[in-house]
Symmetry: C2
Subunit: 458 residues, 2 copies
Amino acid sequence: MDTQNAVAELQSSLGQRITRSKSDLDLHGRSESHFSLSPPDAVAYPETTEEVTQIVRICARHRLPVVGWGTGTSLEGQAQAFSGGVVVDFSRMNRILRIAAEDMTVTVQPGVTREALNEELRATGLFFPVDPGANASLGGMASTRASGTTAVRYGTMRDNVRALEVVTATGAVIRTGTAARKSASGYDLTALFVGAEGTLGLITELTLRLYGQPEAISSAVCAFETVRDAVDCVIDTIQCGIPMARIELMDTDSVRAVNAYAAMGLPERPHLLLEFHGSPASVAEQAETFGAIAADHAASGFAQATRSEERTALWTMRHNAYYAILAARPGARAIVTDICVPISRLAQAIDETRADLTQAGVQGPILGHVGDGNFHAILLVDETDPAEIARAQAASDRMVARSLALGGTATGEHGIGVGKLGYMEREHGAGWAMMGAIKQALDPDNILNPGKLVPPRN
Amino acid sequence: MDTQNAVAELQSSLGQRITRSKSDLDLHGRSESHFSLSPPDAVAYPETTEEVTQIVRICARHRLPVVGWGTGTSLEGQAQAFSGGVVVDFSRMNRILRIAAEDMTVTVQPGVTREALNEELRATGLFFPVDPGANASLGGMASTRASGTTAVRYGTMRDNVRALEVVTATGAVIRTGTAARKSASGYDLTALFVGAEGTLGLITELTLRLYGQPEAISSAVCAFETVRDAVDCVIDTIQCGIPMARIELMDTDSVRAVNAYAAMGLPERPHLLLEFHGSPASVAEQAETFGAIAADHAASGFAQATRSEERTALWTMRHNAYYAILAARPGARAIVTDICVPISRLAQAIDETRADLTQAGVQGPILGHVGDGNFHAILLVDETDPAEIARAQAASDRMVARSLALGGTATGEHGIGVGKLGYMEREHGAGWAMMGAIKQALDPDNILNPGKLVPPRN
């Protein structure tokens, strides 16, 4: 590893767009989570795919790690260069290249954020639905297989990336997928790169699936006696075929937090937050059918919001719930858990988690994308109290063990990075070694985001 | 390669369930397509995953190829053992292991056929939608990434396989995916095995996504002046957000063929065949909206069929269209093409194909899953006329070239096998070499379905 020479070579091709300033390194050494600052050796700001290939080739020659960076909003340290090297910041590759309205696709550079894309799409009658909360970059969302509140209807990034351009570990450029809606031609390389967290290649272009903006949208909220009632209502709703656009759970502690944070005035009980998309007649029918199912589960206060401002208020509350929960314990930091179980086991998983947290004396309001069986307990800890952090970490480990025992996964949407590396073998068994073999085949010198996701090299 | 000893070892573990009888070898050496008979060295009929691991381990030790076999209905020679070896016939691994109604999933052995599954599901109110026409096995459908008439609404096997159990090249058993609806944990090995045509492992168990049987179903048919009118109508329909369950094109030649074959009495013009799924109100709304769009494109004869018998007659006609087309030229055999293009280029692709076939003097009625941009020209050739076969093959090559030039793929749903191997490099460029590197990493001795899909080994 010859950092000085590598950076000198990079400067000759990128000029000012490679930097080693302390502020830039620090900015790209942080994370949204609790991982410690780990500044890279340099930060590069490529503007073209050709420049990305140059960066990778130079780094490959000098065995310097290359780590992609979107908006730095990933939660498991995915974009941190723990082994040093060059962080490739895609913020200057932020052009929308082609909107193909008839094909309902868009081709973008990886630095385009989801909000910027939807702003640009507004006039076309189309939209891109995947919404992880943060205004993340689409390259980062693909690399981490992001999802969020709308996955129950529109799927995750797995379902919405149709084609990619990728720079490989040798600096070659490949294209995966086509502009067609389906193909039976060869290994699904697109799916392999989605969720690979930059360990197999750097995504330099994405073709994404779009949807028609719904003619009508209606949101709703209702309260339940117990989490189990709420989850049973979700199961019946999905089985009934109601194409829910969003169906989110807030447990009583979360409701208390948003009430305190935003004066929402909700009854202090578990709530479902809902959204229906469709034609006006279809939305009305969906809401009516849902209302009947909710009544069967002793729901109360089922109220629809069809006006745009009311809907915005509801989803702003949901998106800010994390901050509301953080504010519930001033000075605390959060350990965010992310398990996802078969929906039939969801009530059990939440009940057991709640009981476990209570017994362990860990404060942890629960928010969930319950239509997918995915939920987060936001564990609030005093950063200066190692014993409390250890208690919370142990509770988080037990949540993962519980999820795996119930047929679920350690992470529904936040990914692995380094934060969940310790669960990989347990979840995948010999499949994890297979992931390592693929990594070894495609990146033999281990320069692409080393130390993440796959088994450590010997 | 030591076939005698390998078979002797296999006999000691499988007894009568490994055979070398000529009839069995011939039965497993054929294909639905024009590939010549290529009997394997032996056919094994495992009943358990454990037996599959034994077969693979013994074959690996003796460097004998192992080729999976479902129902033998693949179209590109995927299941033929062109290099000899053992064909693993999964027909005895045909148990439905678990119906998880609340999770809307089912876990099956690979030999279960789609019709057997849906028969079993009937009483549950759920169904499995992927319908490639043939009553294929679900293991084979996953391995070839099958789709068919319903993919426009429910997706292909890519979208409907949630988890797999796979026996790898070393005889290890791995599990990919979980029972949860989504996961951000690691490389998407499930997607890697779906469509890999048995070159990376043998699928021994599948967890599939199910859907609620629609409360109401309505079919319809209508005629257009031109293929372009029909395709423009499809584009508008999809953009409008009508969740079409099926939307199929038959060109004039195909309509003539089904009229002759089944006395359908349809006007000799391009037709769309449609199906709507939903609540009664939603189906009525969908049909009404479609009717208005169709009228804008000068459609005629828009007639709905809500009674089950009428619907069955319509889709039986569609499923038999291939045979109707074959019957249009007695004694001919078919070269079935399978291109898939962005829907915006579909009318152009069909028009140019039609003109090309006319000019080349090749008879080739066209059928299409037009909601996906996928269509088949069924090229009818006299098997005894090499010049005619060469003309048809050249026209087929031009179709693929056209598809790739328009941003599409060489195969929407039939897969690669050996039949489309010649197009892989052109379609995937350096991505094809990457597929080869993955194959080399996971099956270094090249025993799993050798000679298919990836670049030939040196």
